[in-house]
Symmetry: C2
Subunit: 217 residues, 2 copies
């Protein structure tokens, strides 16, 4: 029989820990908590997710999460971020000759869609943003800095396109990508949901090209 009171049931696996109290050999607990938290917040929203469920999935007690993060809200904020690789990949596609920008942009988006982890986390942010203004603000800031601002700059190169027109076009393109993710992963609309990313990329490039044309006189 287990004695009354604390401790963990699992025997320590030995090996060399790095900090006092830190168990060794096991995948790090904080990371497991963060992963579980992202998943639950995305699936059910901030209010719908429970510390107990997150803790269970991470294989710990709910009190440990509070011990680490302070509160449910602080856990939420700590876990809240757009996956940097996705954002930078798309942002970098803006560099290079303007005439092939649509294809590079489409390819970058396709590469995110093809990456299960990246697209899962982008989906999580979209879902979370829908019910949590903090998440919406995070997306807004990251997108503005890494994608929309440079894209606006590139669109300014077009004749007859002023600042506001360029910025509006950039947000149209950006929201189109958001809609793509939303339709594919949240609504799950066919054939978009199971279409080959390369094929989506080709179509997306067409739409982007439409925004690269100077306005009619």
């Amino acid at each position: 029989m287990a004695v009354k009171g604390g401790g963990r049931g699992r025997p320590a696996t030995g090996g060399s820990g790095r900090r006092p109290g830190r168990r060794a050999g096991e995948p790090d607990t904080r990371g497991a908590i963060a992963d579980a938290a992202r998943k639950h917040f995305a699936d059910k929203g901030f209010a719908g997710a429970t510390l107990r469920a997150i803790a269970a999935e991470a294989g710990v007690d709910a009190a440990l999460i509070v011990h680490f993060y302070g509160s449910k809200r602080e856990l939420f904020l700590a876990v809240l971020e757009l996956p940097a690789p996705a954002v930078s990949r798309v942002g970098q596609a803006l560099d290079g000759p303007l005439e092939s920008l649509p294809e590079r942009f489409g390819a970058a988006v396709a590469s995110v869609l093809s990456d299960p982890d990246l697209s899962r986390r982008m989906e999580a942010m979209l879902r979370t943003a829908a019910s949590e203004p903090d998440a919406a603000a995070t997306i807004r800031a990251a997108l503005e800095e890494a994608v929309l601002r440079p894209m606006t700059a590139r669109l300014r190169e077009l004749p007859g396109v002023d600042d506001t027109e360029a910025a509006l076009r950039a947000t149209m393109i950006g929201s189109g990508v958001a809609g793509l993710l939303f339709g594919r992963r949240v609504i799950g609309i066919e054939p978009l949901a199971s279409a080959d990313p390369e094929r989506i990329a080709r179509l997306l490039a067409r739409a982007v090209r439409a925004y690269l044309t100077p306005p009619p006189a």
Copy 2:
């Protein structure tokens, strides 16, 4: 002092009721509950909304909601629907000559964006869909029937565009509109959030036109 027990504090305003127990003159209570419910579910998700808060906003007791709808979940399902005028307006824009379809489509979307009530309810559905699969399914079904199917049919008229290509393009356009709403109302990204709907319509028409071109050989 109020006597112990039920009844309503507000004196009946007279007038002619239609059913027993039905108060007269006042805006109908069920509608007020439904409105409040839609708002709260959209703002905070299913789990985040509370019957008490909805009831307070509708000016009734939480128990009355259960009396009317049976349970929180049934209230949610009862209140869940895409605003028909928005969907049909966009769907009808598909009729007419193919060459001016992009402009009609853009104008229809703009008219929804310009209508505060319609766009508020579309936004509510998007937000709700993000955390509730039932809402996502509702959107999917309504969109498929009223917009995507007819749009696929129109795209089939293009030379070299088969069924699957037409359906994929249709969902790309549809998800673009969803992204537009999401970016404008949920993320609140500027200048998209405060741009003139007419101007958005003109840009959207360009993108739609890009999907009306036959694929390159």
